[in-house]
C-alpha cells in the first residue's frame, strides 16, 4: 500500500484536483455519448471500467488476480460483446 502520510498536503490537494478534473471530463464525455446512443446500449459498456481497473492493478500494482475476478472479467467482456452486437 502507498504510504499517504509521507506525501505533502500540497501533493494531496493536487491529486484531488486531478481526480475532480478527470471526473468532470468523463461526465461530459458520457453526456455526449448519451446524446448519440440509447441508454440500454451504452450502459453495459460502463462495466468495462472494472476490467480496465483490474488489469491496471495487475500490470502496474502487480496485484494477484483471483479466480472469481477472472470469471467476472470474462463475463463482463462477453456481455458487452453481446450488447455491442445487438
Amino acid at each position: 500500500m502507498t504510504d499517504h502520510s509521507k506525501s505533502s498536503a500540497f501533493r494531496r490537494k493536487l491529486d484531488l484536483a486531478g481526480g475532480v478534473l478527470v471526473m468532470t471530463v468523463s461526465f461530459f464525455t458520457w453526456l455526449s455519448l448519451l446524446h448519440r446512443f440509447n441508454l440500454s446500449y451504452l450502459y453495459p459498456f460502463e462495466g468495462l471500467d472494472r476490467v480496465l481497473l483490474a488489469f491496471a492493478a495487475w500490470l502496474i500494482l502487480k496485484e494477484k488476480m483471483s479466480r472469481d475476478l477472472w470469471i467476472g472479467l470474462i463475463l463482463i467482456c462477453l456481455g458487452t460483446a453481446f450488447v455491442a452486437g445487438s
Binding site: N38, R50, A57, L75
Partner: protein, 151 residues
C-alpha cells in the same frame, strides 16, 4: 498506565445490539438496507434523468449557456450525489460484500428503466448481454470488497 485503563474501559462497553441500534434510529427511512436500495434506485434513475435531459435539453457544445438550465441534467447530477450519500450511509452497517452484490443489479435496473421509461426496444441479445455483465459484476464483488477493505 492510562492507556491500559482506557483499553479495559472500551472492552467493558458492550457491543451495541441490533435492537438498540434500531431504537436509536430516528426514522425507519434510515434503515441501512433501505438506504442501500435507495442508493441503487437513485443510480439507475440518474442515468435515465441524464438521458432525458440530453435528448430534450442539451445542445452539443457543452458550454452553451442553455445547458446550465437543463433541469433534467441537474436532477441527474443530484440523484448521483444522493445515491453516493445513501451508499456511504448504508456502508456504515452493511458489509461491503453484500452491498457490492446488490450493486450488481444496477445494470439490470438501468436496462429495465430505459425499457419502461424511455421506451427503448431491447432485443433478446441485448438482454443476454446485460445479464452477463450483471453476473460478471456479481463475481467481481468478492475481490473488489477484499481490495477495498485493505484501504
Amino acid at each position: 498506565m492510562s492507556s491500559t485503563t482506557n483499553q479495559t474501559k472500551s472492552d467493558n462497553v458492550p457491543a451495541e445490539s441490533e435492537d438498540e441500534a434500531r431504537r436509536k434510529r430516528k426514522s425507519p427511512l434510515l434503515h441501512p438496507y433501505l438506504q442501500l436500495f435507495i442508493s441503487i434506485i437513485l443510480t439507475a434513475a440518474s442515468q435515465i434523468f441524464l438521458k432525458i435531459g440530453v435528448d430534450t435539453q442539451f445542445a452539443p457544445p457543452w458550454y452553451t449557456v442553455s445547458n446550465f438550465f437543463a433541469y433534467w441534467i441537474w436532477l441527474g447530477i443530484f440523484a448521483v450525489i444522493g445515491s453516493l450519500f445513501s451508499w456511504l450511509y448504508a456502508l456504515r452497517s452493511v458489509p461491503l460484500i453484500i452491498a457490492y452484490n446488490f450493486a450488481a443489479t444496477n445494470h439490470i435496473m438501468v436496462a429495465v428503466g430505459s425499457w419502461l421509461f424511455l421506451g427503448e426496444a431491447i432485443s433478446s441479445r441485448r438482454w443476454i448481454g446485460v445479464f452477463l455483465v450483471a453476473l460478471g459484476v456479481f463475481f467481481i464483488a468478492r475481490p473488489a470488497a477484499r481490495a477495498e477493505e485493505k484501504l
